[in-house]
């Protein structure tokens, strides 16, 4: 269809297809609340941005911080000993700190388990990374690792916390992706501004809320896509005896007009706004999405870089490559889930060695490939990549695994606006507590918004009270 009606952008599509004065006035009315809420700052960054878009990688289930980006050799030294027998017994005194409904069983995870993989130093920065992430380790000088994170919930509902900053008990709240979408709007009107790839968190632990927009309205929620270009979206084409693209265009034009008109009585209806947008987007996406997802247009070398040539890295490699292509085309926020569904694949209560070995193989090369590729294309300068999980894992053993550990975990950022090759914050010697420069989940959100030139306090909505905790504070020490 694109060939037949070139250059039809969403706004011109509305304006040019006979909306006329009434239609435009109504359209303005529908959107007035949002405009009013944001004042003159509407769709304008609040400060000079250092990044234009975000690739938000999320590993579901809780990746061990101890064997990834916060390696603790002391665990090898005291392996098999109870924490109480080590010089670090004091960590137990404040065990349940900050966690709501702390796991009483944690007290039983006292016998220290040695590191389950080796580790190495990388790059000029000499970043220490566990062997499960050796490819990402090669990118050490581009990473800003935050090692002093803590979260508030000790079960996988913390996956929702990572996206919203709130305890899962509080259910639906805007995710960081929806704030970005709300705050920046679209760079490419043929694509959604917020795209979700991979299998998201299961219903137990946030489900659709992990890519929702809550009170911002569904128009700012993430749009899930499959990376298969043959079937990226069901019903993307008309059936065989269907209507022509001209008829489709005429239909959508009339539909837009009728829907705007019907909104007169319901000027505050977020669902109506979202539905109008969804039709415009659906129409554009019929051509833009299959084109974007044609990963076979990439060179063999590029595909290899992401590990698409190997069975274990193929799935996530394709998602990472799709993420780059979406980023290239101006999608603002790409949320990439790995190991989703249920509590999450990384949840290694037992057999952590085989679990994390297998799963890290699936993601390590693709993520490193993504960083390399962004860099070689000059995109890393204005694309921010964030790597995270919901919590860390206990230094003490749970049989052959490690238990949930909300008291400490780590994440890293790379690209647009953050320094490379640095670490920020520290946990104690056995990785039990975030000790120095403790940071909460929303501090990562604030850092992301800062890089995008947004000030979350200027994104206030009338009648929506946000807490200090929701805003967080940007980690200025890692900003370039």
């Amino acid at each position: 269809m694109k060939n037949k009606c070139p250059g039809v952008s969403r706004r011109s599509f509305l304006a040019d297809t006979g909306m006329g004065f009434t239609g435009l006035a109504l359209s303005a009315m529908l959107f007035r609340d949002r405009a009013r809420a944001q004042g003159a700052a509407f769709l304008q960054p609040h400060r000079a941005p250092t990044a234009k878009r975000v690739i938000w990688i999320f590993l579901c289930g809780g990746v061990s911080h101890l064997e990834s980006f916060d390696v603790k050799p002391e665990l090898n030294k005291y392996a098999g000993k109870s924490i109480e027998e080590t010089p670090y017994q004091h960590v137990l005194a404040t065990e349940g700190k900050d966690v709501i409904g702390a796991n009483p069983k944690h007290g039983n995870r006292k016998v220290i388990m040695p590191l389950q993989c080796g580790y190495n130093t990388y790059g000029e920065s000499g970043l220490v990374v566990g062997d499960w992430f050796r490819h990402v380790g090669e990118c050490a000088d581009d990473l800003a690792v935050v090692r002093s994170l803590w979260t508030i919930h000790n079960d996988h509902g913390a996956q929702l916390t990572w996206q919203t900053g709130r305890h899962p008990r509080e259910l639906e709240h805007p995710t960081i992706g929806s704030w970005v979408s709300y705050g920046l709007g679209s760079e490419n009107e043929n694509l959604p501004e917020y795209v979700v790839l991979g299998v998201p968190t299961g219903d137990c632990c946030g489900g659709a809320f992990t890519h929702g927009a809550a009170y911002l309205g569904p128009e700012f929620a993430g749009v899930r896509l499959n990376v298969d270009p043959r079937n990226p979206l069901p019903f993307i084409r008309q059936p065989e005896n269907g209507i022509s693209s001209e008829e489709q265009l005429a239909n959508l034009s009339l539909l837009g007009k009728l829907n705007h008109l019907a909104g007169i009585d319901y000027p505050d209806d977020a669902n109506l706004r979202a539905r109008i947008k969804s039709y415009e987007l659906a129409f554009q996406m019929q051509t833009s999405i299959p084109e974007t997802l044609q990963l076979n247009r990439e060179s063999e070398a590029t595909r290899k870089l992401y590990g698409i040539d190997r069975p274990e890295t193929k799935t996530f490699g394709e998602q990472c490559l799709a993420a780059r292509r979406l980023a290239e085309r101006g999608v603002r926020f790409i949320q990439l889930f790995h190991g989703g569904g249920g509590g999450g694949d990384w949840d290694a209560h037992s057999e952590i060695q085989s679990n994390h070995t297998k799963l890290s193989q699936q993601v390590d090369k693709p993520i490193a490939g993504l960083l390399h590729d962004l860099k070689q294309r000059g995109m890393l300068d204005d694309t921010l990549v964030v790597f995270g999980t919901e919590f860390g894992r206990t230094p003490g053993a749970e049989g052959t695994g490690r238990d949930h550990h909300p008291q400490a975990f780590c994440a890293w950022l790379a690209g647009g606006g953050v320094k490379g090759g640095i670490t920020y914050g520290e946990t104690d010697e056995i990785g039990f507590h975030a000790a120095t420069n403790r940071r909460y989940v929303t501090d990562i959100h604030a850092t992301v918004l800062h890089c995008l030139g947004l000030d979350s306090r200027k994104l206030e909505l009338p009648g929506r009270k946000r807490l200090d905790m929701d805003h967080g504070e940007a980690i200025h020490e890692i900003l370039a």
């Binding site: 008990r169 259910l171 009170y215 084409r237 209507i243 505050d268 200090d468």
Partner: protein, 903 residues
């Protein structure tokens, strides 16, 4: 951030300890719980500790709080007990009694100290004069708290008094009083009643899930009766389509799932085939207004309640649905988890590996509940008209092993049963009530379902049919041919088998080891031996024929080989043909010797069978293949069901009413309908929910009465239009100052596309429809298959039910829905049918537009809309047929926001 964190820490303290009622436990930890219970948010974090009543000990790791010495406050709390009357010694009464005393002698009363955040048992810890100035304000707040309604979902329902309200004009019934009381409290202005056409659409979709036809619209809009709306509600509740609409709601909650598995159902991995019988039971029960408590009992123990009644037994599909071929562990885990959540709103599943972290459920109790379900298994009984249970049948549960043992699993790990801890069946103590399970003797029809009259009749009829087939074969076989001999033997086998079946049936009626039984048994043995002989004869005959053929084949092959050898002497022959024929002759030789061997074996078997037949007959016959099960059931599930479906069980009625409310208003009074515990969300209108629960039970647990109340309330009838003042106070409409706008669920979208075009097939019930027919079938969506990896994509896109867990649907808006509704063959076909049908009745453009708006959007078009549509038709008719233009217009209206939106 710090402020927020400390608030969380405070709440943490409330969550970790459950408050047992004071009288249950006199152990000292209850004091701490009682303090929290009584003072709630007023108890500062540093007082929500054991040291409020106890002095710290030097003991490093005390095993029990009893080891601590009491402080003055704790000692007084204990001592006051003996001074109080027997019936009011509970901890709350005692706390109240010593509130004004000064236990530690620092000059400040206990209550004052506690409310100001100081320890009433520690003399050194006394409020400063500065903090004492905050006392009056604090006390006022506290008194307000004490006077407020306390939500106690785990204590039996007590009917709250209906609040008085100022704006009595708003209230039609008690529901409105509760809602209006909150309006007045918060300063919200309820919206006026919705326009008649808006209400009409809302109530049709809510009750029967289908849009009103134009005739139905006219009937209501023209009705001058002041009670027209009430009459309409009554009429719709009596409509059998109510059962289909609400059946799907309850199927969400009770996790309906069709079977999962492979290759045409040859391997069933999840749920069971024919589970649709349970779906039909749900629909029929709702239409019959069957009491909810009875429904719960039938689902958990229908086989124990009415073992001979398939109509009741099918209700146990609720349990059958959890069947998992690959893991009994997962099967039972799902059963427990969702039984806890669906009926009680408690997250029982959390206690599988550890004591529940928020609610009063111990890990041991989890395994006690598991012991209730341990003996049960699934099976498929035969149903009238079909002996093949793969084709049709009744999936149900039964207790297979009354001695099934449940062990306590360490950390919930099935590999680590604690064999020293055998769990007896039991219930959750914190919810009160009793559990009395007694073995139930089952009637013969249940234990031996193949002895039911119709199964016997049909089994005999099937045997007769086989016999008739053998007779026909015999008659058509050529005389003296090999076939004739085979047919004759085949007929004799069929006849003898038929005789045997009849005698078997006779033996089943006789008392075992009686004289009659013995002679019948001997007769069966004789017949079974005769069958063996006949079958061996048939086999021998067949082997004989096969051997003859192999001899002939060998002779032919040998001749061919000889011919080739001769040809070689006379003509050019490179040896290829000879080699081939040599190979063929070798093969024929091998086959002949194999046939010979088989013949010999058959002859030996025949000789053995004949020898057997000549022996004196015994009574040791082989019984016919028939479904036979234990003749008793443990009664555990029935006892459990009685405990749940009970007026004294605190959450049962509340949970049910919350589900009802949720599906009328889009959000539950408790927003987390499957979690009424401390990890769930607090209710917005706790009193209303308690009142609804009380009313529900006093109405005999009948749901239609409760629908009626809700639907006839002013609260339900409000418009969904906005009000800026109220919106500023309550932007989420949590306090219902307006009707919430909702989107049609997936089923409604599909059903109404069919319905408005006049294509909906109204047939009710029966086997589920293949998921690949989702876009072509004309039946209601409730009948489409939904199982593991088997669902209709169109439904999924509109946030259709997920089979794993679906206590609440979460409608989204996304481009996928736009594509599905605009590009699917379903919409396209229905738009075309709709356009043709409406044009047929309204063959004028304006009337066509008007009728289409009314039928699809249940409202008149505005003049501006009419002109937009006319312009569209004019534009689209250029170069295309006017029919095509009209079809496209309908396609647009089917995609209109007002089509899928319930205002």
């Amino acid at each position: 951030m710090l402020r927020r964190t400390s608030a969380y820490l405070l709440s943490l303290c409330f969550f970790v300890v459950f408050i047992l009622s004071g009288s249950r436990s006199l152990a000292t930890p209850a004091n701490k719980a009682a303090l929290e219970h009584h003072f709630d948010k007023f108890l500062s974090a540093n007082l929500a500790r054991c040291t409020t009543c106890h002095l710290p000990s030097d003991h490093k790791d005390p095993q029990s709080l009893n080891e601590f010495p009491h402080n003055d406050f704790g000692a007084r709390l204990r001592k006051i007990r003996s001074e109080m009357p027997d019936d009011s010694r509970d901890i709350i009464s005692r706390l109240k009694r010593i509130a004004a005393e000064d236990s530690d002698g620092d000059g400040i009363a206990n209550e004052k100290e506690i409310l100001l955040g100081h320890n009433p048992g520690e003399r050194e810890d006394a409020p400063t004069s500065d903090s004492l100035t905050r006392w009056p304000a604090k006390l006022k707040d506290f008194e307000t708290f004490l006077a407020s309604y306390h939500w106690r979902p785990f204590q039996p329902v007590k009917r709250p008094t209906v609040p008085r309200i100022k704006d009595t004009a708003f209230a039609r019934n008690a529901i409105d009083h509760f809602i209006a009381a909150e309006h007045e409290q918060l300063g919200l202005n309820p919206r006026p009643e919705a326009a008649k056409e808006v209400l009409l659409k809302r109530v049709y979709l809510d009750i029967i899930g289908l849009l009103p036809t134009i005739a139905e619209q006219d009937a209501f809009l023209r009705d001058q009766n002041p009670f027209a709306y009430e009459l309409l509600v009554d009429k719709l509740l009596d409509d059998p389509r109510y059962g289909e609409r609400w059946g799907r709601h309850w199927m969400d909650i009770w996790r309906y799932s069709d079977w999962g598995g492979w290759s045409g159902g040859n391997q069933i991995r999840d749920s069971q085939p024919h589970i649709w019988r349970w779906r039909d039971w749900i629909v029929e029960s709702l239409n019959a207004n069957k009491p909810y408590d009875q429904m719960v009992r039938e689902m958990l123990a229908g086989d124990e309640i009415a073992p001979e009644d398939p109509a009741t037994v099918r209700a146990t599909g609720y349990l059958v649905r959890n069947y998992k071929m690959l893991s009994r562990e997962q099967w039972l885990e799902d059963t427990l988890k969702h039984t806890g959540q669906a009926f009680l709103g408690v997250t029982l599943g959390c206690a599988k590996c550890h004591d529940h972290m928020y609610d009063p459920i111990s890990q041991a109790e989890y395994y006690q509940v598991r012991a209730i379900f341990e003996p049960h298994q699934v099976r498929i009984d035969r149903v009238r008209g079909e002996l093949d249970r793969a084709k049709n049948g009744l999936p149900r549960v039964y207790d297979t092993d009354t001695n099934a043992i449940t062990y306590f699993l360490l950390r919930g790990d099935e590999r680590k049963p604690d064999t020293n801890r055998v769990m007896t069946p039991g219930i959750l103590q914190a919810l009160g009530g009793r559990f009395d399970a007694n073995n139930i003797a089952l009637p013969k029809a249940a234990a031996f379902p193949d002895r039911r009259d119709f199964v016997i009749t049909e089994t005999i009829a099937a045997s007769e049919a086989t016999l008739r087939k053998a007779e026909t074969k015999l008659q058509t076989a050529r005389e003296n041919s090999e076939d004739a001999r085979a047919a004759e033997l085949g007929h004799q086998v069929a006849k003898t088998k038929h005789d045997e079946l009849l005698v078997q049936l006779k033996a089943e009626e006789a008392t075992q080891d009686s004289h009659e039984w013995s002679s019948t048994a001997r007769r069966i043995v004789q017949l079974q031996r005769k069958i063996a002989v006949l079958e061996a004869q048939l086999k021998t005959h067949e082997a004989q024929v096969a051997f003859g053929k192999s001899e002939q084949k060998l002779a032919d092959a040998t001749r061919a080989l000889n011919d080739a050898n001769e040809t070689r002497d006379t003509e050019k022959e490179d040896g290829t043909a000879i080699a081939e024929r040599n190979k063929a002759a070798e093969k024929a030789k091998r086959e002949k010797s194999e046939a010979e061997k088989r013949l010999k074996e058959a002859q030996e078997k025949l000789a053995e069978a004949e020898k057997n037949a000549a022996a004196e007959p015994t009574t040791d016959f082989k019984p016919r293949s028939a479904e036979k099960y234990p003749d008793k059931s443990t009664g555990r599930r029935l006892a459990f069901a009685h405990w749940i479906a009970n007026e004294q069980n605190p959450p049962t009625a509340r949970v049910a009413m919350n589900h009802l409310w949720l599906r009328h208003f889009g959000t539950g009074i408790v927003p987390t309908p499957a979690d009424f515990g401390r990890n769930g969300r607090a209710p917005t209108h706790p009193q209303l929910l308690d009142w609804l629960a009380a009313e529900f039970m006093s109405q005999g647990w009948r749901m239609k009465e409760m629908h009626r109340l809700i639907l006839k309330s002013s609260t339900y009838r409000m418009a969904s239009t906005t009000d800026s003042a109220s919106s500023a106070i309550d932007p989420d409409n949590a306090y219902l100052w307006r009707a919430p706008a909702r989107r049609m669920e997936a089923e409604l979208v599909r059903d109404n596309l069919l319905h408005t075009a006049g294509d909906l097939d109204a047939t009710m019930g029966g086997p589920e429809i293949d998921q690949n027919l989702g876009l072509t079938s004309k039946r209601r969506s409730i009948y489409l298959r939904i199982g593991p990896e088997k669902e209709v994509e169109f439904m999924k896109i509109f946030d259709g039910p997920t089979i794993t867990e679906c206590y609440v649907r979460r409608p989204t808006v996304n481009p996928q829905q736009a594509l599905a509704l605009h590009n699917s063959e379903l919409t396209l076909r229905e738009a075309r049918n709709f356009a043709a049908a409406v044009w047929n009745n309204h063959p004028a453009e304006k009337e066509f537009i008007r009728a289409s708006f009314r039928r699809l959007l249940v409202r008149e078009p505005r003049s501006e809309e009419i002109s937009m549509c006319r312009d569209f038709l004019a534009e689209q008719s250029r170069g295309r047929s006017p029919e095509r233009a009209r079809e496209n217009l309908i396609l647009v209206l089917m995609n209109h926001n007002d089509f899928v939106t319930i205002r």
